[in-house]
Amino acid sequence: MHGLVNRAIEGFVRDSYGAGCWQAVTARAGLEVSSFEAMLSYDDRLTDDVLGAVSAELGRPREEVLEDIGTYLVSHPNLEALRRLLRFGGVGFVDFLHSLDDLPDRARLAVEDLHLPRMELVDHDSSTFTLTCRSGHRGFGHVMMGVLRALADDYGALVLLDHAEVADGAEVITIILVETAYSEGRAFELGARAVQG
């Protein structure tokens, strides 16, 4: 698994529950390292072990933890850069939804060896969408649930989300757009960061 993924889980635990909790997770998972490196690659098994340990440590089901990680990725101030990269996807939430097809390619443009699962958006009518995630890693759909929820807030849209698993291991998220301009959302200035950078 790419270090960025493991690093995201670690960041989620540290930023939401403190360094002590992360220590407990590493101990429970039997990790040899105390921290993951974002730009290194790790055995897939480690990611599974850590997720299991987080779930056990917090006493919450794995699906919930994954969804919270997705929310964390978009909404935590420490990951502002990531929120901005996602917002590049579109001017409005619907635009953004349509950009998800390109997300794995976009990710690879930034970090060559980062392979995100394929996603496919279908719009059934102007307010009903389904997003199909095909991933070798079960649970990716739950992360996307969190990402979508947080980004809907970010765009100021009001949405209802539903997660289901279909036969061939694919995960399908149903997105019902109740209102595109429900709240003001958060500002996104196209040139704001690029110049500082």
Binding site: E37, M39, L85, L109, A110, G191, R193, A194
Partner: protein, 334 residues
């Protein structure tokens, strides 16, 4: 093409395809400007204005008419708006009816321009690569930052590893930390031992005249000689640039230690060939024995061995001396 009804439809199409375009009449006056281009001149009506009034034309040089612009090689233009911030634009011109169409772009200044004019995704055509470019710049900055942090942490880890190391990387001998540990343990276990401080003479001259490569070669040769002089259980350490310490546990025979010192000095004084040159050094030695002290102390013993070393140096180079027990006069021997 007539400048009549058809041109309205054409302008709409152009606005969608090239939001930074302008349509000029035969006199070089703007008939229409795309919506993004209009943002460069806030509060001004562009229709009817002359291109040369709105822009300074950097290329083609000294072009003063529409005809001159149309003669530009490849139709390539460099324009600069005459209103601040005046970010330079790239353009391409093509004849259109009696006049011309010009499409503009920010070129390499796009990041600056997006910020200065507060542009958003909708200001660019869907085929325009600007958004992808901005995305890429930002994504790469974030990735670079992650890599930079990794490098910093690796450097920190390397420094920490070096700090915990017990080996001198140049010679492979023990380092100062290892020496302190070994001596500390001997004292803890109340074992008799002798410390020999070996200081190279003329080493600086070798370094200065023959270079650092020669200096490093000499240090490695010295290390080999010191290791050969030690038995299993003894320790040879490099504690400074040209300063070494030998530890001999269980060796208290003064005559035996003196013989070792003399043999070492003789070996170290032999010229060492390096790269067709001869490196000539010698050594001075100071010796301290734990048996002399009521309660031996590592720092104290090393300081006393050092003092004995300087006594021997005062007598001339290439000698050794024992730290004298309290009351006795220090003595240098040949």
């Amino acid at each position: 093409m007539s400048p009549g009804a058809g041109s309205v439809a054409a302008d709409c199409a152009h606005d969608a395809l090239c939001p930074m375009h302008m349509r000029l009449d035969a006199d070089g006056k703007l008939c229409h400007a795309g919506p993004t281009l209009a943002k460069l001149f806030p509060g001004r009506t562009l229709a009817g204005q002359g291109l040369f009034d709105l822009f300074e034309v950097a290329r083609p040089r000294e072009a003063g008419s529409l005809a001159a612009l149309l003669r530009a090689p490849g139709g390539k233009l460099h324009l600069q708006p005459r209103v601040p911030p005046g970010i330079a634009l790239k353009g391409v011109i093509a004849p259109w009816g009696a006049g011309a169409l010009v499409n503009l772009s920010f070129g390499i200044s796009v990041i600056e321009a997006v910020r200065a004019y507060g542009l958003t995704n909708t200001d660019f055509a869907a085929t325009d690569m600007t958004i992808e470019l901005l995305y890429l710049v930002e994504a790469k900055s974030a990735a670079m930052e992650a890599s930079r942090k990794l490098n910093q942490r690796l450097e920190g880890a390397m420094i920490a590893a070096e700090e915990q190391a017990v080996t001198d990387t140049l010679t492979g001998l023990k380092n100062r930390r290892a020496l302190d540990h070994i001596v500390g343990r001997l004292i803890e276990r109340a074992r008799d031992f002798a410390l020999m401080v070996v200081d190279l003479d003329y080493f600086k001259t070798v370094n200065d005249t023959l270079g650092h490569a020669a200096g490093d070669h000499v240090l490695r040769q010295v290390a080999r000689i010191l290791v050969d002089a030690t038995r299993e259980g003894d320790t040879a350490a490099r504690v400074g640039g040209d300063e070494f310490v030998l530890v001999f546990p269980g060796r208290s025979d003064r005559a035996r230690l003196a013989a070792i010192a003399r043999r070492l000095i003789a070996q170290l004084s032999r010229p060492m060939p390096f790269d067709g040159q001869m490196c000539r050094i010698s050594a001075s030695i100071g010796i301290a024995q734990s048996a002399v002290y009521e309660r031996p102390d590592a720092a104290r013993m090393l300081a006393d061995a050092d003092a004995a070393l300087y006594d021997s140096k005062r007598e001339g180079r290439g000698r050794h001396a024992f730290h004298a027990p309290p009351g006795a006069a220090p003595r240098a021997a040949g």
